[in-house]
Amino acid sequence: MANKGILIVAVSQRASLPPATFELVTAGRRLADTLKEPLAAVVLSEKAAALAEDLAACGVDKVYAVEHPSLANFIGPVHAQAAAAVALKEGFGKVLLVSNVAGRALAGQLAVRLKAGLAADVCEILPDGKVLRPYFSGNLIASVEFKSPVAVMALAPMSFPRAEAGAAKGTVVPVAFDPGSPKIQFVSYQPEAANEIDLGGAERIVSGGRGLQSEEGFKPLRALAQLLGAAVGASRAAVDSGWIAYRSQVGLTGRSVRPKLYIAVGISGQIQHLAGMSSSGTIVAINTDKDCPLMQMASIAVVADYNEFIPLVIDEVKKRKGSTAVAA
């Protein structure tokens, strides 16, 4: 029997689905329509039944809800066992995941169980079934062809629009699951400081580099980020100087991001940094050095000292937001 159908593997994180999961629905729907195949999803969660309704509401034809306490926190082999059981039973041909920490590890586990080719960080799915993904640390784009009957693709967050509720509602099917005795036990979870927006799913990012000169330098950036609803990022130089945590690092040894708006402040734009953010929509560079690589590649470049400039930008945005509020 030929493998057929598209399966979205949705992993809940802290009892909710990461927003990028809904990007999988958009990508999956496009694939399903092109191939004239059904679109299904499997939700792995301690609250799968409820979360499955959200995906069904976005037009996923059939949503398998694997609800079990062992799926509350991501445990690679346990989640893989649950997802593989559904994928193998129904013989799906394409498996979509979010390319985040959990999704990438799960993709690897599933590829072996499904005897499938794997492409991670996929940013585009071509009509002929090939996919595009970063190669050589983002300096190149590779076109990947699958040779196996099953293809596993982990999609880079922010590469597809998020699906919204309103399409023809699909059905939810509960699936029983017995994890056996897992070789990994979840011990605890320590959340990041509250109200911090995650870089991966951020539509806007304000990022700082060596030019900020100190930890203090991130203060105006954080204020601007808060005003814009943006995540705060950093270059390796700023992280290595100890001004901000490693989790905020954008670039080769940090995170790859593709927000609609990337504001780089005091970042010269070493190739390692560009590798992590050059797929952003609009890039604004603010720097005193007009010739540095980031100013050269930016969509909008401003020669300015951030210390003076960022507070002025904050004032301008506040003025505008104030007037919009009045107008509304």
Binding site: Q13, R14, P18, I75, G76, P77, A80, V101, R104, A105, G108, Q109, A111, V112, R113, K115, G117, L118, A119, D121, K130, Y135, F136, N139, L140, S143, E145, P182, K183, I184, V187, S188, Y189, Q190, P191, E192, D198, G200, L228, Y246, R247, T253, G254, L261, I271, A275, T282, I283, K290, A298, I300, A301, V302, V303, A304, F309, L312, V313, D315, E316
Partner: protein, 268 residues
């Protein structure tokens, strides 16, 4: 009691700024200097730290790659590993994460049969292939527990390891039974430089070289023949449209203009 630790490393181009060969559509890497994949340095350091922490332990470095890849085994020994194994042969050329992880699994099983392994460490990803899934795939072949994005190894005993996993929204603490596979991130440590003693040991080191047949695999299972995905073409990043510079007599004027543009384009 000591543990036997294996760290998997790859020899990759030291610069990822490589051109694409117009004829083949593949990156032109011939003649490019190679080095230990930068992300693997953290895994090597962690293996050596664990070895130092638990008396009687060994750290073995494992690589799959052409003849020249033996250099990264020497590099890891210079940084404190005890010995290395080189999986090599023309049959491994053109592998993807699927066939590469199968070969690594076979090599690890062979090592495990010689002396039982406790931990296998990987880097976050390679700077050339960038898939970041070989650790998870190798663990799946082995059917050993695996955790990726490990930023700290908290406790190790004879039967388990407790690790901290860097997630997008915080830190998970997980306990794995041994043997286990861990893929590390940069945050885990600061790699040391090779020592003089290490460099001497590296110079003298001799590595067993294992072909597919030595691992109980056929040529059809590894390399390009065993691959489930293939990179048919590589291309440079599409050029970004030309940008504009915000001009103005004062910083205030530039700020106003910038915010105007961002509002006009509905970016904020």
């Amino acid at each position: 009691m000591g543990m036997n630790i294996v760290v998997c490393v790859k020899s990759t181009p030291s610069s990822v700024n490589v051109p694409v060969d117009a004829a083949t559509g593949q990156p032109k890497t011939a003649g490019t200097p190679t080095a230990i994949n930068p992300y693997d340095e953290f895994a090597v350091e962690e293996a050596v730290r664990l070895k130092e922490r638990i008396p009687g332990s060994t750290a073995t470095v494992l690589t799959l790659g052409p003849d020249g890849a033996a250099d990264v085994l020497r590099e890891a020994i210079a940084r404190g590993c005890d010995g290395g194994v080189h999986v090599s042969g023309p049959e491994f050329d053109g592998g993807d994460s699927y066939s590469t992880s199968l070969a690594l699994c076979a090599a690890l099983k062979k090592l495990h049969a010689e002396k039982p392994l406790s931990l296998v460490l990987f880097g976050k990803n390679t700077n050339d292939g960038c898939s970041g899934v070989v650790g998870a795939e190798t663990a799946a072949w082995l059917d050993w527990p695996e955790v990726s994005s490990v930023k700290k190894i908290e406790a190790v005993d004879e039967s388990s390891v407790t690790v901290h996993r860097a997630m997008e929204d915080g830190t998970d603490v997980l306990k794995l039974s041994l043997p286990a596979c861990l893929a590390t991130v940069k945050e885990i440590n600061e790699p040391r430089l090779p020592s003089l003693k290490g460099k001497m040991a590296a110079k003298k080191a001799v590595f067993p070289k294992w072909a597919a047949a030595d691992l109980g695999l056929t040529a059809a299972q590894v390399g390009a023949s065993g691959a489930a995905a293939k990179i048919v073409k590589a291309a440079g990043q599409p050029p970004r449209p030309a940008g504009l510079t915000v001009a103005g007599a004062s910083a205030a004027e530039k700020a106003k203009k910038l915010v105007d543009i961002l509002f006009e384009r509905k970016l904020i």
